[in-house]
């Protein structure tokens, strides 16, 4: 069962352009740091796929085991860990986040898609 969750988490990280593992959903954010990361991604126009880690504690366990990152939120762009709220905010302010998104997703990334939510478990 845990293996199944690990595979799902891995699948999201590897297949989504921009994956945001957060507490709550974009419609109902449950944590200040998740909110900061989401807002920074929105400002950069990122096509976010959000995953709520709260419904099952194993999601967070498997995620941190895979990424080696101990805190939530965690942002991945095309499989690469970009960081948590502090880094994503810092990169957004310097314009580096948009550069990274362009480099990884192409210059048209802003039109690539809307925010969506992926449920695990």
């Amino acid at each position: 069962m845990s293996d199944e969750i690990r595979d799902q988490v891995k699948g999201i990280i590897e297949s989504e352009d921009v994956a945001l593992f957060m507490k709550g959903t974009p419609q109902f954010v449950m944590c200040g740091n998740s909110h900061r990361a989401l807002e920074a991604l929105r400002r950069a126009g990122a096509p976010v796929t959000a995953v709520d880690i709260l419904p099952d504690p194993r999601i967070r366990e498997e995620l941190s085991a895979l990424s080696g990152w101990p805190t939530i939120p965690q942002v991945f762009v095309r499989g690469e860990l970009v960081g948590g709220a502090d880094i994503v905010e810092e990169l957004a302010e310097s314009g580096e986040l948009e550069r990274k998104l362009e480099e990884k997703l192409g210059p048209e990334y802003r039109g690539a898609g809307e925010e969506r939510v992926a449920a695990l478990g």
């Binding site: 200040g32 740091n33 101990p70 805190t71 860990l81 709220a85």
Partner: protein, 75 residues
């Protein structure tokens, strides 16, 4: 708790500029700032990983509820 985090960071970053702030006064929401020459040439993810490593115990045992990190190279 602020002192404990401060001590752990000073142990991991001897001689470097370290500060810890209890953001809410509740002893579980912290802002830590570290300026170290060890960060030079590292990505932000790598820099924050070094800070997480230093604070692994209070992160794992739930002492730290929320952590904000600011890292800078020394130059």
């Amino acid at each position: 708790m602020t002192e404990r985090l401060d001590a752990l960071l000073r142990e991991a970053f001897p001689g470097d500029e370290v500060s810890v702030e209890d953001r809410t006064g509740g002893g579980d929401h912290f802002q830590v700032n570290v300026t170290s020459p060890r960060f030079e040439g590292l990505s932000l993810v790598e820099q924050h990983r070094l800070v997480y490593d230093a604070l692994a115990t209070p992160l794992a045992d739930g002492t730290i509820h929320e952590l904000r990190i600011k890292t800078r190279g020394a130059s």
